[in-house]
Symmetry: C2
Subunit: 422 residues, 2 copies
């Protein structure tokens, strides 16, 4: 497609999204709920077409020699398609955040003030080649009364198109504007640039989910607010007063339960006071579960079968069965390491010492800080949000798991009885 | 000052602010409270120096032929300086938002999750030549545990420097880092550009307050999140079922109580069903209080002493004793006008009809929507927030009055008992 065509298409999409958003903002909870159930049904009915589209994407990705973990994220089968549809049904059943009153009060002037949730408007979502995000993001944005323009990774293009088509068919069958959910019908990177420019004011918020090159581009080019989902460079810190069995279980779970999610641990920090006793046990557990270890000098003296970690390792989100390991002198060194190398995502301390836990939970500047729990709990579902679009790592607007409630704004509704200000 | 120098100075300020922010984040409520009281005291003690600096600014502004309302905003006297110090004392006494728990719950997995308020970090505040903002913004940012880099308008430079110096002296006397509050020691516009670039990652949030040219520049150049305080193009809509006396009182108050604040009304919309009876009365009230009217065709047939409004008038924030007036056919036309020309700031409906009020309050997409109350209530103090940095007109992070609580972020504190995720 020529860039000129892309520009016209993108502008039209922006206008269509804006119009759809106006309609969505006035819809009651029931209409949105029914439409989402219809979209789930439509996705199930379209499973053969989605599978065929996914085969085409998989073939292309294999020919490009993409990694096994990439192919796994791209691959769809009937189970995954039905799980995706179930996810849309689950979002349909969540409480509708729009119109909810967060707080209500009467200041001394006697006005009745309430803070009421409103949709954000139009969201531009830029994501990697994970076709399921098309349905997840579409559902969550719509639940919050927002229109969404989706731009998925090029390698999942056909899968995402088939899913978006099914989703839109479902919306339309319930009388909703199908342009509430649109997928950019093009894999040209110029489309991303136009989205970052805001499409003449049509986009209220950009949500990027992807690798460092996307994030760098977003930071350089975005002209609209951005809700960043950066990498999850998560740490588990085993304090000297950690329970040994608990530490072993948490570290293995944090790293190995699923290695490809943003909440998986990438670095183990362990106090030198307990490392001699505990690190060999933890390392054996990890080895047994198929994890490669890369340690600093002190760690390698305690466990021989460990590669040498380089400076780069502390900064690397492996998303794979690899863990970097560092022996630290105590809480302050652990927090300094996390402050320097972490990504403000999710970090955990394992300790029976309440004072150490309190300091860690207060002073580590991450969206999620845990005590005696696995970093893999960094998940909207586990938080009770029902579904999430990702984990926000910035400090503005919403931080941590972003579900439908986090994709709303609010306004103040003020009721007087002829109030004039003295 | 040469641009090269400005760059070095600004980078140093960014680093100093970042360091101060780390210290502030760990301070208890008492330390911040004591330091703010000390700053208030220091401002009072510095009144002669602040007055002398302000005289210099006033002379410059008069020589440039700046408007009377501009000079009024710039002018300081002892009363205003003491009121500014009282404002800092008032912020000191507010509840400290940092460390407050917004919510706490236990999802089915048994984790204890709480959402706890944290500082944002470093705020870059760019504002017009209103010296009092230097103290207000410094106090509110500090209360929320943030460091702030202030860049005030060039015409108030000497006043702001004197105020900032006094403020910092107060902080230092209580052992706080004085670089928690810094004023850009330069009126070169290059400094603004550097702030919009984020000073190598040192700035977490830009808050611009100023005219359209500043806003345009911010939208084009900002590389960090922005909390916009755009213009207040506020409307009062007099519905056909409005109480006549209430409508008269609210319109005059909304326009004339203070014309220079963002919550003052700029446009009156009045239903044609009641305009013949009511508009002449309202217009006479406004005339009597010194207000110039600019009306559309229908309005001018009902009240002769009215200039003709042009398309530009509907888009103009006068901040002066001028009001544009339009006769509309009903609620839908009023809301369409506000949607087209409004600035999503503050809009009010006057009516005894609950259905009309409900629709207006739900469908007008502004930070503050009022029923039977003056738009001049758009104010953090009136909302019970104690003090504000302005009224945010965007939809992200915080909307409406921005006080200390709105200048915080949050993180999730998760407590487990050895939780590993199944």
């Amino acid at each position: 497609m020529m860039t000129q065509d892309v520009e016209a298409i993108m502008r039209d999409m922006g206008q269509a999204a804006r119009t759809a958003a106006h309609t969505l903002a006035k819809l009651g909870a029931d209409s949105k709920c029914r439409a989402l159930h219809a979209s789930a049904k439509s996705i199930r009915a379209a499973a053969p077409a989605i599978l065929a589209a996914n085969e085409r994407d998989m073939l292309g990705a294999k020919n490009k020699g993409l990694s096994a973990s990439f192919l796994d994220r791209l691959m769809l089968d009937n189970t995954r398609i039905f799980a995706m549809a179930d996810g849309v049904d689950a979002v349909a059943k969540l409480d509708d955040p729009v119109g909810q009153t967060d707080m209500e009060w009467t200041p001394p002037n006697g006005l009745n003030i309430s803070r009421v949730r409103t949709p954000l408007g139009v969201i531009g979502m830029i994501y990697e080649s994970r076709p399921n995000v098309t349905a997840d993001a579409g559902a969550i944005c719509l639940k919050a009364g927002n229109a969404v323009i989706l731009r998925g990774g090029a390698d999942g293009f056909h899968s995402s198109m088939a899913i978006a088509h099914a989703f839109r068919t479902g919306l339309q069958s319930e009388g909703l504007p199908k342009d509430a959910v649109q997928l950019v019908p093009d894999t040209d990177r110029a489309a991303v640039g136009m989205m970052l420019g805001g499409l003449d004011g049509a986009i209220d918020l950009i949500i990027p989910r992807g690798g460092k090159s996307l994030i760098a581009r977003v930071q350089a080019d975005a002209r609209v607010p951005v809700l960043s989902h950066l990498e999850g460079l998560c740490h588990v810190y085993v304090h000297k007063n950690a329970d040994a069995d608990m530490a072993r279980a948490i570290v293995v779970n944090a790293k190995m339960r699923r290695t490809g999610i943003c909440g998986s641990a990438e670095t183990l920090l362990i106090d030198q006071a307990c490392a001699a006793k505990l690190l060999p046990l933890i390392a054996q557990d990890l080895h047994a579960s198929g994890c490669v270890l890369r340690g600093d000098g002190r760690a390698r003296t305690l466990f021989a079968d460990m590669e040498a970690a380089t400076e780069d390792d502390w900064r690397t989100e492996y998303l794979d069965a690899i863990l970097s390991v560092r022996v630290v002198d105590g809480l302050d060194e652990a927090m300094a390491h996390i402050g320097r190398y972490g990504s403000n995502h999710t970090d955990s301390i394992v300790t029976d010492n309440e004072d150490a836990a309190t300091r860690f939970l207060r002073d580590v500047d991450s969206a999620i800080v845990l005590h005696n729990a696995s970093t893999q709990y960094a998940d909207g579902g586990e938080f009770g949000f029902g579904a999430e679009i990702g984990i926000a790592t910035g400090k503005l607007h919403a931080r941590g798991p972003v579900g439908a409630a986090q994709l709303t704004s609010y306004h103040y509704v003020v009721r007087g009885r002829g109030h004039i200000r003295p």
